[in-house]
Symmetry: C2
Subunit: 336 residues, 2 copies
DNA sequence: GTGAAAGCGCTAACAG
DNA sequence: CTGTTAGCGCTTTCAC
């Protein structure tokens, strides 16, 4: 029932080490011996004890995935992408949920380090997450930073979207589709995503010869806005024609407000935002969308992580940043 | 940098065992000694090695969470609820994603057993999952079955919705709101959820003196329907007034089709379904909704699991099934 | 209340 | 190609 490597060895008539070699795919085993061992393994329904393996090898065949917000389907998409890649390599995923909280992030990273994860995929909380980089660096744990960049931390590979360029292109589309005035809703600018999208928004207005005005953008820190966004955006008596919402959640809030105010979307108000098609298209919406594919981002990130893990010895210190392209178009279905 | 229990012991001037006792909250340590040990732990930034702990104690301070579909926000809600409870107990969660695949489920369960998880929360793939129960039972791993029941497996605690009663009540509401005819869309009846909701649907028609007809319900196995549901439901020339969709994904599909066909929802077609308010209300929809709260289900399930884990010794073999109430009402926002 | 000794099940490092 | 010897860092068991 609960057999050990020793039981297998005895049954196969070899030593523990030979069994271990078979388990770890070492080629230094005679085919016939390997057969005998494999048969013993099958007969006993033997499964290696991961704790023992980790203790003696300091490797866990496990990676850590640090995510900020599981309630946001965008990040769940990343989780699915990572999981899909990692499982095909026979690795496990330890999921950590920080809820955008820096102290939880610190704790998560320490826990993962203690668990001897072989690598980490990390969506940092924001700029201050840089302080936590050392937790990973000290142990030389291969790491891929995801979606958000931290300032002054070029120690890690990264997978991000080209937020500035995409926000600019999206805003130009918005201007074309909606006319003026357009406004922007942004989150707390503690993440590179918000910062870059804001820059792109300004780039577009600039290129369109619309002089910048601080009123053009508002910032809403909490995920759920506490006061009406559309009203706060409105200044002067010319009704807003278009809104750039920095992410899916903000866009949803604007959409709800518009519906509540009997403003037809997109006829009388165009909402442009970033997101991805909901795989199940749970509910329809009408958005001008810069499509991100979080599943792909997660998958690519995991892929890059594994090339690091598998070639850890020949690490020359260089790091790559992968910029995932963004497709812009009208979408008649749900965003996510 | 990487200190062990021995380093702590040396620094505190005690033996390994005393440190271990402090770590495990044993009361058999003199307060003063405890102080010294705690200081040494802090000074060294000592973190216990989980692999060593697991190896020597056969306990991992970790639970397994087996989920069928991460792309469905309903199950993500469960994950969030479980995670929230478990982390406050200082435990970790190993997430397994089966994608409704029985062989992946088998594999997941074996992996969790090998990892010495202290408990499992399990959304089974369906009726045939009963075959996998032994994997957990053999090792006496406390387990809570979630959302779906397996036939002939009363070995586990369970957290489910009262699907039959809720489906009946929901259908009665639907009949009142929409009039006749109403139809039902169901999934593959390999899960208790589908079976029970179908029974509830029939109960309601029965009680309303509408003689049952096999055409009243159709079954769509894949998550995304391959052919138009509404067209397949339509029989005769009286247009359908209401649809009971067995879950959120099916409801979304029906909703999309209605919009595409210029059928106004809910004015000309009422869609009744099960779901829960999207925490971020990403996009609005108009449904007659039997509200489930997956976060609460996950949270409650974890709670029950921990009472088992903590009182494993005095297990009298009895098992509890928790039936989570369902609230029925019109919802003007997104379902999930 | 504290310590010494003996593993938990595996792999690293060396022999042969 | 295969085996032997030592641990990995903790907890268990039993002393005192």
């Amino acid at each position: 029932m609960k057999s050990t490597i020793h039981d297998v060895a005895k049954l196969a008539g070899v030593s523990n080490m030979t069994v271990s070699r078979v388990l770890n795919d070492s080629t230094h085993v005679r085919p016939l011996t390997r057969q005998r061992v494999l048969k013993a393994i099958a007969d006993l329904h033997y499964l290696p004890n991961p704790a023992a393996r980790t203790l003696s090898s300091s490797q866990s065949r496990t990676i850590g995935l640090v995510i900020t917000d599981l309630a946001n389907p965008f990040f769940v998409g990343i989780v699915r992408g990572v999981e899909a890649f990692v499982r095909q390599r026979g690795y496990g995923v330890i999921l950590s949920h920080t809820e955008e909280d820096l102290s939880r992030e610190r704790e998560s990273l320490h826990t993962l380090r203690a668990a001897k994860v072989d690598g980490v995929i990390w969506v940092p909380c924001g700029d201050e997450s840089t302080d936590h980089a050392s937790i990973l660096i000290e142990e030389n744990i291969p790491t891929v930073v995801m979606d958000r960049l931290m300032p002054g931390a070029p120690y890690f590979d990264a997978v991000i979207s080209d937020n500035r360029a995409a926000a600019k292109a999206l805003t130009l589309h918005l201007l074309k589709a909606a006319g003026t005035p357009v406004r922007g809703v942004f989150g707390n600018p503690i993440t590179s995503v918000v910062q870059e999208r804001l820059l792109g928004f300004r780039d577009a207005l600039n290129e369109s010869n619309i002089p910048w005005n601080a009123d053009f953008a508002i910032y809403r820190n909490p995920v759920m806005p506490e006061s009406p966004i559309l009203a706060d955006l409105q200044s002067g008596n010319c009704p807003i024609k278009g809104v750039l919402a920095w992410n899916n959640v903000a866009a949803a809030a604007v959409f709800r407000e518009a519906i509540a105010a009997n403003i037809r979307v997109p006829d009388n108000l165009v909402i442009a935002t970033f997101g991805n098609p909901d795989p199940y298209q749970v509910t329809p919406g009408y958005f001008l969308l810069a499509e991100q594919d979080p599943f792909q981002m997660g998958f690519s990130g995991a892929q890059q992580l594994f090339t690091r893990i598998e070639h850890e010895s020949d690490d020359d210190g260089s790091r790559k940043t992968f910029i995932i392209p963004v497709y812009i178009g009208f979408r008649e279905h749900a965003l996510q």
